[in-house]
């Protein structure tokens, strides 16, 4: 019996090849989208599960409440791990990671490399996180100072086929002996490193000291705790509040800050997007992508449903014959479901090819590195099978119910099946398709608008034609002026300025005390050490008082220029005369430094656009070693010439490092990379959705017009012109789109305003994206329908009536 189903299914596919091709292509596209999204979602959900003990590992995080603001940090104080080990019986072991610098200079023999992912770790790292060793063994690998364990890729890069163990690498200014080679960490690791340096190589005062005054306030290392088998993470977390009071809060009280420690299970750290967190992902992106993939599959399934029910008339004879020759309703139901299943599986085969072709593009957009082999990993094959069966069922169930329910007595006289209720269900499905398309298109418009808003937003300073050279180490920093003079000799360089932080980069935030309406208040302010040219060079406007005066020695380290927000938040109105900022407190809480406020600059975005403009002050430091960046302004359009010049000058100036030269725009663009990726994915999916919807509409309109040939013929016989018929047909499809717009509009409005709320600075919601998407949908729909409508309207009524 199934052979017979298969034969008639295959032949029916072949016979109506255009419509089958539309169905199969759309389903394949939908399934491809779903497969790629599943691949991505699986990958995201699998973070860190490759560690043997991942269920027992937690990351300790700190929450600091200061001056009404709350800071949630992934980094912790150095002594925390030791204190936890001592205070809690649940703790079996711990490891701390500490990154001295984002990028380091590595020398192996004669070759040098700029590397990232060089991390200091306690020797316990291999007891907490399982690693497989290619060479060497975990025991004692990182016990001694100046030992290093590197990844397989690095070993191959540095030493080729030679054995790595015992070899020396120069990292920064020190030599390290290679004691082990580990397998590269997989992509789905939230804390990734290529080399581990023994913690004992670091300044013991810093990493092993338990001095509460100093080291419970520095949050620069990451602490991971391995709990004993059978210990509950929840119970452990429940005990943490007392811990902060015991160790961290006595010092914090001086600043009016209070700390709380939290723990996140390893598997969830990837989605815990907090300050200083490594390798963070976004759960809501996964949700959005999954929804979009579901929509894609549904829209493709609807195409099949619509085309299959539209073809009911053509198949009614076959169904009647089958019923007359003894088929039961159930048997027919099974037959038609088998048919849609067959189509789904043919689509699956096609979609695997499609997925393979699209994988490189997908990897680029999603910033992943999937290969075809990943399709067979874990439960993905089962998921793909499920997606296919779901698609087959979703597509086939309605036509199967309709077709199997046809009355066989109709066909005895060759009567064909006529739809009841004017094909209401089919129209509803078309409306649903359009509504989804409009939703996605308006979403795409909104995302693009927001992204260009962020790109073009005036930042309050000039970022164009400026780069910053980052200097490392006290030596190069203290002689930054030498580099500055050398750079200035190039006629293409217009000006320079020096600063501790650059706009868009990280800024220190200090606890300060200010006099607000006669009351002393503790608060926070971002601090930047800058030179005399800073506001001139960056085009920042001074709105009150004055900037630092080169002639006044008393300006150095004793005065501050604040921003507008600071002035307003401190309640100073617009009068800054005699205002002071106290900072750097001793243990009794007495300020060591007091700054006179001499001027106010207009607000500018000194932090990236994910942050609001906070209070900030500029200080003229005593020594140039307070500067980390040399900002260089060059002639517009001369970047190609200037960058190599700066590179060679800097290389010559500090021979121990590869120069780091970055555009001032960098900090403002990078921050939104994931949103831009989302925008691209959105754009692609909405394009595909539209394509599928309109392929379906194309097929459907041909059937609908086929069925109405007679009506059109009669109308023409009665005097309607071809144009009149065309207008009638357009009007009907326009209604469907209008209803779709009405359904999509509130949904799109709600979702998009929710999304925009994620941004500190965002566009106002407007009807424009919705209107655009409605117009786009309308135009494409009309174009699609026109092909068949024009043909139908132009038909000779004599022919169409005879055909009936």
């Amino acid at each position: 019996m199934y052979r017979n189903y298969l034969i008639s299914a295959l032949r029916s596919i072949r016979q109506s090849s255009l419509y089958s091709a539309i169905s199969i292509f759309c389903l394949a596209t939908g399934i491809t989208g779903a497969i790629l999204v599943s691949l991505y979602v699986n990958h995201e959900l699998s973070y860190d599960t490759h560690y043997d003990d991942h269920q027992r590992i937690i990351r300790i995080e700190g929450v600091y409440d200061m001056a009404g603001a709350s800071y949630h940090l992934a980094a912790t104080p150095f002594p925390l791990a030791f204190a936890m080990m001592e205070d809690y019986a649940e703790v079996e072991n711990f490891v701390r990671f500490f990154m001295r610098e984002e990028e380091v200079m590595v020398r192996s023999g004669e070759s040098e490399y700029l590397e990232s992912g060089f991390v200091l770790a306690d020797s316990t790292v291999f007891d907490v996180f399982s690693h497989s060793f290619v060479h060497g063994s975990p025991e004692g690998a990182l016990s001694a100072p100046n030992t290093i364990v590197i990844s397989r890729s690095l070993a191959e890069k540095y030493f080729g086929n030679e054995p790595s163990i015992g070899k020396t690498l120069r990292v920064g200014d020190e030599n390290y002996s290679v004691t082990g080679v580990i397998e590269d960490l997989p992509d789905n690791t939230h804390f990734r490193y290529d080399a581990l340096i023994s913690m004992s190589s670091a300044d013991a005062d810093l990493v092993y000291s338990n001095d509460p005054e100093l080291y419970w306030n520095i949050n620069i290392n990451y602490t991971y705790i391995l709990l004993h088998q059978g210990s509950s993470i929840e119970e452990f977390v429940g005990k943490l509040p007392g811990f902060a009071d015991k160790y961290a809060n006595p010092m914090g009280d001086v600043f009016g800050a209070s700390a709380t420690f939290l723990a996140t299970p390893l598997r969830e750290t990837h989605f815990n997007n907090i300050m200083m967190a490594q390798g963070t992902g976004d759960r809501s992106t996964l949700l959005i992508l999954s929804l979009v993939a579901l929509f894609l599959v549904l829209i493709a399934a609807i195409n099949y449903t619509n085309l299959a029910t539209a073809r009911a008339a053509k198949r009614s004879r076959e169904i009647g014959i089958r019923k007359v020759t003894g088929a039961s309703r159930k048997q027919l139901l099974v037959q038609f479901l088998a048919e849609s299943m067959l189509v789904a599986f043919i689509s699956l085969v096609l979609s695997i090819f499609l997925a393979e072709i699209l994988l490189p593009f997908f990897n680029t957009i999603a910033n992943t590195s999937f290969s075809l082999a990943d399709f067979l990993k874990g439960t993905l094959p089962v998921q793909i099978l499920f997606i296919t069966v779901f698609t087959g069922l979703a597509a086939g169930i309605y036509p199967a119910l309709i077709l199997s329910n046809m009355n066989p007595s109709l066909i005895v006289k060759g009567l064909i099946y006529r739809e009841s209720k004017k094909g209401l269900m089919r129209k509803a499905l078309v409306v649903f398709q359009f509504a989804i398309s409009i939703l996605l298109v308006s979403g795409t418009f909104t995302v693009q608008q927001q992204m260009s808003f962020l790109r073009e937003k005036p930042l309050g300073f000039e970022k164009e034609n400026r780069v910053s050279i980052t200097l490392h180490g006290s030596g190069p920093r203290s002689s930054i002026e030498t580099l500055e003079q050398r750079v200035m000799q190039n006629p293409l360089v217009i000006g320079t300025t020096k600063a501790f932080s650059v706009p868009g980069g990280e800024h220190n935030v200090n606890a300060v005390r200010i006099d607000s309406d006669g009351i002393m208040q503790e608060t926070f302010i971002a601090v930047n050490y800058v030179d005399l040219n800073y506001i001139d060079n960056l085009g920042i406007r001074l709105i009150r008082g004055r900037y630092f005066d080169p002639g006044m020695r008393s300006d150095i380290a004793q005065t501050a220029v604040i921003n507008e927000t600071a002035m307003n938040k401190f309640g100073w109105g617009d009068n800054i005369a005699g205002k002071q900022i106290h900072m750097q407190f001793d243990q009794e809480g007495n300020p060591q430094t007091t700054l006179r406020v001499i001027g106010v600059v207009e607000d500018f975005h000194f932090l990236s656009l994910t942050n609001p403009v906070d209070p900030m002050m500029l200080i003229l430091p005593e020594s140039p070693s307070s500067f980390r960046h040399l900002i260089v302004q060059y002639e517009a359009g001369e970047k190609e010439q200037v960058i190599p010049f700066l590179d060679s000058e800097t290389r010559d100036f500090d021979q121990s490092r590869i120069p780091v030269i970055s555009s001032l725009e960098k900090g403002f663009i990078e921050e939104f990379e994931s949103d831009q990726r989302l925008g691209k994915i959105f754009a692609i999916f909405s394009l595909v959705t539209i394509m599928i919807s309109f392929a379906g509409l194309f097929g459907l309109s041909s059937f609908m017009l086929e069925q109405r040939k007679k009506e059109i013929g009669i109308r023409k016989v009665l005097g309607s012109s071809a144009g009149g018929v065309l207008i009638m047909l357009y009007r009907e499809f326009s209604w469907l789109i209008l209803i779709a717009v009405i359904i999509a509009a509130p949904l799109s409005w709600y979702l998009m305003s929710r999304w925009l709320e994620n941004f500190t600075f965002h566009i106002d919601m407007s009807l424009v994206p919705l209107l655009w998407s409605a117009v786009t949908a309308f135009l494409i729909a009309m174009l699609t329908v026109s092909y068949h409508s024009l043909r139908a309207a132009a038909l000779n009524p004599a022919d169409s009536l005879r055909a009936e």
Binding site: M1, N4, S8, I321, T325, G326, S328, R329, P408, K413
Partner: protein, 235 residues
């Protein structure tokens, strides 16, 4: 074998009520060859649908093989139908996507025959109807007469008690029409009951009895021989 008592069929739309059959009572015995005649719209097809268990009457009783089936569900009717009735249609109603063999095989599939049994039975029938050489062809590759022969094969392959033929020669020229009528006649001689709706006097002449319908009611039931004589005289 078949008996109807005041069989009535009313079609209702929102505003109009049409009585297609009005208290029709008659019987047909096993082994009979009966023709149903009448002008267009007289209720022939409606009657055939009900006799063929494709539709239920609105009122009255219908005894099929001694079962009162007028209240049967679609499922019950389908079950009874596939075991006992074969259909032959004016427009052949073969499935274009299936080959001759597969078309004839269809009823056996739904009756749950094994594939070897099906092969044997189908080939037997195709052989008998002399269309075996066309078994791998598709309906659209055959002449009308050949298509109808295939349809007859399909109707008889499950060895039904009754064959319902709806204008079986309506789409055929006279040579092919005669061929089909001869087939039906020989089936009847071998014991199959045949009920045939027809416009053609010539075809009706093969029947042993004619039921004439007019406006949903039986007007005459004659022996075909007498009728043919009259008809011949009229021609």
């Amino acid at each position: 074998m078949i008996r109807t008592v005041e069989l009535t069929k009313v079609f209702r739309t929102e505003e109009v009520e049409t009585t297609a059959l009005n208290k029709v009572s008659f019987g047909i015995n096993e082994g009979e060859f009966v023709a149903i005649m009448g002008p267009s719209g007289c209720g022939k097809s409606t009657l055939l649908n009900i006799l063929g268990l494709l539709d239920n009457p609105s009122d009255g009783q219908y005894f099929f093989l001694d079962h009162e089936v007028s209240g049967y569900s679609e499922k019950q009717r389908a079950n009874l139908r596939k075991r006992n009735i074969g259909f032959v249609f004016q427009n052949f109603n073969l499935i274009d996507e299936l080959s001759v063999f597969e078309n004839v095989e269809l009823p056996l599939i739904y009756l749950g025959y094994s594939s070897s049994e099906r092969r044997q039975r189908v080939e037997e029938v195709l052989e008998q109807m002399q269309i075996m050489h066309r078994k791998n062809h598709f309906p659209l590759q055959l002449s009308g007469g050949q298509q109808q022969r295939v349809a007859v094969c399909r109707a008889v392959v499950a060895k039904p008690h009754i064959i319902l033929a709806d204008e079986p020669t309506g789409n055929l020229d006279s040579t092919h029409g005669d061929e089909v009528m001869n087939l039906l006649e020989s089936l009847n001689k071998n014991g199959t009951t045949i009920i045939m709706v027809t416009h053609s006097q010539r075809d009706a002449s093969y029947a042993q009895r004619i039921i004439r319908l007019f406006d949903g009611q039986i007007v005459t039931e004659d022996k075909s021989t007498e009728f043919v004589l009259t008809a011949a005289a009229a021609q």
